[in-house]
Amino acid sequence: MAVISLEERRLKDRELNPRSSPYAPWMHIDVLLVLAAAGLATIGIAAIYSTTRGRDPESFDSFFLERQSLFAVAGALFMVFAAWFPYQELAKFAVAIYGVGILALIIVLGPLGEEVNGARSWFRFGDFQLQPSEFHKLAIIVAVAYFLSRYEDHLSAPRVFFAVGIVAWPGLLVLLQPDVGTAIIYVFIGFVLLLIGGIRFRQVVGIALIVVTVVTLMINSNMLEEYQTNRLRTFVDPTTGITDAAFQQRQAQIAIGNGGVSGKGYGEGSQTLSGLVPQQHTDFIFTVIGEEFGFVGSAATLGLYALLLLRILQAARLAKDRFGALICSGVFAMILFQMFEAVGMTLGITPITGIPLPLVSYGGSSAIATLIGLGLVLNVRMRRFI
């Protein structure tokens, strides 16, 4: 009987029965990540129902509840799909995906796009709206990851500029909608990808200087809509006057403070019941959690995010190649930044921008895009041995 090495046996196993092999991708699904995502989505659906069902117990309105559940289910299917095919294949489509995304961002600015709350960010398909800028986050992640994964050594300045360009064009298109929040997410994703991709410290400083200059010019020029400068100014000095933004931030903090340690109880938050926090089911969803579930619930939610991000970071560490590690880092950056901003603005520590809380805020595009991103992370992790 021939003695075969472990390596040989491993190869043999794979040939004979790929599904039962200990290295088969499906054996390495990250259950904790999936559970954390499912937990957050559940909290989100519960919070959305609480703030949108209305006051009349005889006839609660379940419209948003049903829609968000549908988005979650759809998002889960997309996630499975994103995890299913070998992620390395994505490299072939990176340019195409990016191109389609840019096209969508251009078209949405035209007559086909729909304007909501002063921003032309949506396509309408019957009862559903699609926000291409949400999906383009993923296109940027894949494109930049693909571009940077091609170079093993430190990045040269032209490569850095090329990478910045990949982020900048969609960023500018999104600013034209105008949607500053999403543009800032793009910038942050790009920054993190460059960081992981091997940017040098002096290059970071250079880029930072440019970004600060541009942002300062933007705030002081008329490029931003009045409500956006208001939001930023309000954050800088809340005592300048009772503006809409100050009101919003004030009401958000009252809601969260009102929750106290244990919360007012599900469906019992007075700020939530009275609808005093504007945009509560979307960008300000965290105020529902804060008011009704209190510090305990808020901390648990943040804990789920921490778990999710930890698992993503681990997937990046374990990734078989630089492409995979960069994809995971991009998704990490996307979720971390959105979480920090969307929670931070309800707590009064970051300016108000229209950024959804990933997996929790109401909105199909955001939920599905985030779940696709997580699917990619699962994909990278489970294919680490192949």
Partner: protein, 676 residues
Amino acid sequence: MTPESLRLRLSFLALLALLAFGVLAARLWFLQVMSSEEFENIAVANTIRVIYEPAPRGRVFDRNGNVLVDNRESLVVTVDRFTYDTEFDEGEKEDLVLRLATEISRTGRLTKIFEINDALDDPRYGPLDSVPVADDVTENFEIVLAERADEFPGVGTDIRSVRTYPYGDLAAHILGYVSLLSEEQYELVADDPKTYRRNDEIGQTGIEASFESVLRGTPGFTRLEVDNVGDPVAVLDQVDPIAGADVHLTLDIDIQALAEKELLAGLAEARQQELDDPNDLPFKAPGGALVVLDPKGSEILAMASFPTYSPSEFVHGFSEERWAQLQDPNNHQPLHNRALAGIYPPGSTFKLFTAYAAMNSGVIGERGVLDVRTLYEDTGTYVVPSCEEDVIASCTFRNAEEAIYGPVDLRRAITVSSDVYFYYLGDTMDRADRFDREGIQRSAQLFGFGAPSGIALPGEGTGRVPSPSAAEAAGEPWRTGDSIVLAIGQGLLGATPLQLANGYAAFANGGTLYAPKMVVEVVNPVTGEVLQAFADRVLDQIYLPRSIRQPILEGLLGVTAELEGTAHSAFFGFPHEEWPVAGKTGTAEVVGQADNSLFAAFGPNPNPEYVVVAIMEESGFGASVAAPAVRRVLEPIATNSVPAVRTIDDLAELSGTIGDDGDEVDAENTELESAA
């Protein structure tokens, strides 16, 4: 790039995430654990709106059930401040106010532009309140508003309950007035269970102030839960307003009307007196007081003070100039209630209490310097024995008008008002070791001088009873001359008209000093249930045996009834037989002014039911001004013919009979009519 470098860079991401979570968790801890109580309070206030419904204020009645203070509805024009402030620029604001003033005036209530602007600037109203800018508008304005609402955005009407005074200005000082709370007052009542708001009214003087807690109703409220635009979504609870309780006074409005009329007439007469000597100080007679009370319990039947004011003026509020006028000393402070806050030397009306002191301390008596019937020779002057010029400024004291009364006993000394007789009593008590040096002071205090009488009205004066011990304590000299002038009610002695009347009441009723009583009971306006009844309040029992009371009483009876009595001419023709009146004139000297004219009286003797005291400033002799006025008050009482005041016509007739001060009378008449 090496795998190690990638790991390092991923670790940097982990650090970034750790930092982000740290910041969020710290802030969450601050909001939800450290300051959640504060936010919970805000959240409660955020969703609850309280709508107050004011409660009607209690009414005030006289002893016979006549309504003295009532409520009526006033139609008020309001401007919604939020609309006004947010929807108009300066020009539009000016235009709106101009059109509003024009339109309100056109419908019958004269309204000036600055009145509306002042109201709109009133800091007592919040930025979301509806501010009342004109009251007592006619219903025609409501019609205008209904037809042309779009021309007056934010303008509305409201019904407000305001005070009305069926008897016009009568008893204004007793009833007092209500007006908007001041900031200081708001602080004081902020925790009151009857929930005051910044634009509420509060009793400022008189019964309105001292019975504020009773008269004020408890406002009702509706607590609404509201949504983010302030629309109610649910009624949390609702409490109906509870009307304030009614207050029933001891006052008799008929006697009050009579007292006010005669006080005014007396002052008018005083001004018309001719001066004996052109160099004498003029009789300005700017003010005075007249008090009528029942000595059996010191129930106040009437209490007049002049000059007076119109409480209904406060219903609309008034200009700063008008307020300044009311405060100006040159206008003799119409808001000042002289009857209980004015402090006057009582003059010879005080001799009753000196006489009591002398008898009680033994100066007059079997072992005293005089017996009751001992005749003392009044030579017109009293020279203090062994007086040294350098110790006492003047050793010689004279009778008023340099009169010489010859032999006088106590009874006659009172009847003719012999100052010399009383100088002797004062001097004896001051210097003779075997008598109480402060006998007069003790007597004065027994009869209630030098202390607030305890009437249930604000602003009462204390008065002054000077004494050797007090002077020594203050490091000031006390001279025999001080005791001598004290004996005739002069010097530093000061008493309110009410104190004087109450002291006479204690003598008249046989020695019981009561706290003057103004309020009989407090009654629930709906059920008629008596919520609070006020019994007579005895402050002191004064030792007043017949042996002391009778000689003094005889002297006082002589004042009005005997030919040589100082008030004989004033009471000539008075029904003395059926209704014997005891009285005492007083002519009190005040430095730099004409004398104050005083008269104190009680009757019918021997069981008096009425005490009347009149004090008229700068009016001359008590006998010639105050005594006739008191007689004119007592005679209708004695003959049971006090004119009943029941209608506004009665009032107009009453004030119409007061002749000389044309303008004032006209003004008052107008005020009465508008109050109707």
